[in-house]
Amino acid sequence: MDKILARLEERFPGRATTRQRPDLAFVTIEAAWLREAALHLRDREGFTHLVLLTAVDWLEAGQFQLTYLLHNRARACDIGLRVMLARDAATMESIHDLWPTGATYQRELREMFGIDFPGSPRVDAEFILEGWIGPPPYRRDFDTLAFAESNFRHREGRETRDPAAHMKHKLYPEKG
């Protein structure tokens, strides 16, 4: 694992590396290098399996973090490649030609985060949502409650209780 990371470091230097577990590490690299790094890992290091491709919305930093989690079956270890994208220009190179499953992940990210992957098959087709009329719902600046209130009719008289406060009130009414 160390050697793999070292070799990765050697080819794509100067990026932050996190060792989560002995068999799991995350490497943050430039978006432009992702393809080469992925190819390197896939073809040279045996990380043949794309476990997942997911995104995190760092609203405060104005960035999306893409994580390409790759798995090496022979060594039973994983490396996550992280790429930071600007939120306002969320476009990333497609990797559907490296892993066909990538296309599905990218469709999901496109729908849920609004991250574009030009060239990925059917990337603009609807994925989970049918007839969606709001902004990408997984973006943290999307107010799901407001959307729900405007889109759905609610039943009157619904109460929401904080479970902790409710239980406290129920069990220890004397404490007020």
Binding site: E130, G131, G134, P137, F142, F152, H154, R158
Partner: protein
């Protein structure tokens, strides 16, 4: 927040298309009209003689055939009903794999918009008299999904619900009790949801279409 101006074009397979017939003519096929029956649902009056209708209602209540359609987490909760411990069969309840033969639609938990479309279709494909039971608080008022952008908040807006069983989720015992109550409602002749649906068809459709933005089926799925 929501962009009401966004319109969804008809799905390609439903758009009218030009087809060349074997003898060389070109004809237009409009799938929505040619492949789907366009008739609106009818109100079916009860049998005129009350005692006969009561007898029929008794039979209906003692022969509840549930459509095997699980929507949310309740789908799991319903399985124990078949097991020796609860054994719903002894109450005349059984599960049917096709809506044509079922007369009870259990909405077992939260219902996303996408699933709602399927639930409506299944409901409409059942033959009346037919009953809807909402399971769990999600069907009542959204429950813990009150702020979800994609789950409906109250089922009776969209389908004529005869009975709600509250809980998150209700246990099988609660379900059995619910069935008993439903039977009472049916026997009392009050479970006329199908007729209500037909009577207020326009209103139901309006509400359904308000949340299902890409309506891609005929108004009534026979």
């Amino acid at each position: 927040m929501k962009d009401d101006s966004r319109k969804f074009p008809l799905r390609p397979e439903l758009e009218p298309r030009e087809v060349k017939t074997p003898d060389g003519q070109t004809i237009t096929v409009d799938p929505l009209r040619d492949y789907f029956c366009e008739a609106a649902p009818r109100v079916h009056a009860p049998v005129y003689v009350k005692i006969v209708e009561d007898f029929f209602n008794w039979a209906r209540s003692e022969s509840l055939w549930i459509l095997g359609f699980g929507t949310g987490c309740g789908a799991i909760e319903m399985r124990p009903l078949m097991t020796p411990r609860f054994d719903a069969y002894r109450f005349g309840i059984q599960w049917r794999p096709t809506p044509r033969q079922a007369n009870l639609l259990m909405i077992s938990g939260y219902l996303s918009v996408k699933t709602l479309k399927r639930a409506i279709r299944s409901y409409e494909q059942m033959q009346s008299p037919k009953y809807v039971v909402g399971l769990g608080s999600c069907t009542i008022n959204g429950g813990m999904y009150f702020d979800s952008y994609n789950t409906i908040k109250r089922l009776d807006d969209y389908l004529p619900v005869d009975l709600y069983i509250a809980g998150c989720m209700p246990r099988p015992e609660a379900l059995l009790k619910g069935f008993e109550d439903l039977k009472k409602i049916i026997r009392a002749g009050k479970a006329e949801g199908a007729n209500a649906y037909a009577e207020n068809f326009a209103q139901y459709k309006e509400r359904q279409k308000a949340v299902i933005h890409d309506w891609d089926m005929p108004d009534y799925n026979w």
